[in-house]
Symmetry: C2
Subunit: 281 residues, 2 copies
């Protein structure tokens, strides 16, 4: 099996390591707009060789799009133009409605499988690629009924080889769910980082005191704007809904503090504690 | 050295393990309002023996208060009433102004050293106690000039034995800094958990998709209201200031989404990325 990965960053590079190590791929080809990324990917042995887009597509059994989601909207139709009847094309993006609309009427739509492996870190680029990033996490297959069954089967085999669990969602549900379990966490971290950095201007010692709790709530604030701004742009309406709800929840805590109503404050924390049911550790 | 720890929960229990293991304490006495906590602490060998408050104070070289901060306000004057000229009393609470006001005029004020080891987890109780919780973290000595030099020296030796770094702050700065690097992270997590739990009522599958980023921003939402409500009550004014600022930052992101101003959104994320300077990993 030859896999061509377009976009050798955190996700593309981590997939490359994983699929080569587990034997699913015999050969990994890297395509990237940045020669610097390709050089790093070769030096780190993430890929076996680099190629241009057209040659990379021609050589592959499976083509994986792992660029920022705005670039995917440009690239996916061009990749599908060249996809043959035995090739599968998958993307790994965090938003789906916009992308699926773009290729809805494409004659090779069936060769494309929309997927979202739910894993990542706050780091980016080929230097951030790590093995085991995806182990035992969840991949969403989005609108799989619009893809050819053999293409879905190839995508499924790829993810199960890692191994990852697979769930299916329609594109609208996927984008709403992603806003809740991923996109809002990033906006919350960005805002928290800005809150504390504003204070730091006056108080340079503030960060000597930062400990584990602070680190874990703001680590996502290190995430790349090149990756995230296109996501927020494409998922704007869902993100706005969740952000409004999050601001409302914070405003409730604020109002309780102002009123010194610590009995209700206590009850809200007990409600929030229910998140224990969901988080594993 | 005999150490009596009043309140054998996450912090008291973890200190107990650490100070016994590293040889700083030859004997650890546990005092707790909950017999269940004491039984657990003995079974887990966190403490060598349990005692009542008065006896526990009498036996100790250093007395450590590790209860929720509302209980500290009640207990600290009673502990100081009984403190002898060679004993040191330290607390490990997350707020200081209220507590220090309480004992400002106490005849034994000098025996008391206000400290805040900046470490914790979202878990609580003796079952949550772990070794290495404090290793190489930071402890704040608060208003140490109001304590007897030999008591400060004893507290310093205790923390350096772990080892922890020591910084000094006045009580007002301490409480402001704690609001920024600890208390606001918890409110943000509680609010995020409530936001997502509200959605979960309709969509039970939402959490299948939650991955590392989500986990790390909401894990603090598992924190105990018994510990946190007294902190928010005592540090209400500082927490309100930081919460207002945090809501403002979120409202900025909201306004940019509404206006589709993704250029400014990009720039704000770049600003937030500056948190990289501060977070180690």
């Amino acid at each position: 099996m030859t896999i061509t990965i377009i976009g050798i960053g955190l996700i593309g590079g981590s997939l490359a390591i994983t699929l080569k190590e587990n034997g699913f791929a015999q050969r990994i080809i890297g395509v990237d707009a940045s020669q610097d990324n390709l050089d790093k990917a070769v030096r780190r042995r993430l890929i076996d060789e680099e190629m241009g887009l057209e040659e990379g597509i021609a050589e592959a059994d499976i083509i994986v799009l792992a660029t920022p989601v705005d670039v995917m909207v440009q690239l996916l139709p061009r990749v599908l133009d060249r996809a043959g009847p035995h090739q599968a094309v998958i993307d790994v993006g965090s938003t789906k409605e916009r992308l699926l609309k773009e290729v809805k009427e494409h004659p090779n739509r069936g060769r494309y499988v929309a997927t979202h492996p739910m894993a990542g870190t706050e780091h980016s680029g080929p230097e951030a690629a790590i093995p085991n990033l995806f182990d035992h996490k969840c991949t969403v297959l989005v609108d799989p009924e619009d893809s050819d069954p053999d293409a879905v089967e190839m995508a499924g085999r790829l993810y199960r080889s890692i191994p990852m669990r697979i769930v299916e969602l329609d594109s609208q549900s996927h984008d709403v769910h992603s806003a809740y379990v991923s996109h809002i966490s990033h906006i919350s971290s960005f805002a928290l980082a800005l809150t504390v950095l504003a204070k730091e201007k006056d108080e340079s010692r503030i960060f000597e005191l930062a400990s584990g709790g602070f680190d874990s709530t703001v680590r996502l604030a290190k995430s790349s704007p090149d990756m995230w701004v296109p996501i927020f742009r494409q998922n704007r309406d869902n993100v706005l809904d969740v952000l409004d709800e999050h601001i409302n929840q914070l405003a409730r805590f604020r109002s309780l503090l102002i009123k010194n109503d610590f009995e209700t404050f206590y009850r809200l924390i007990q409600d929030a504690n229910q998140i224990r049911r969901i988080l594993k550790k």
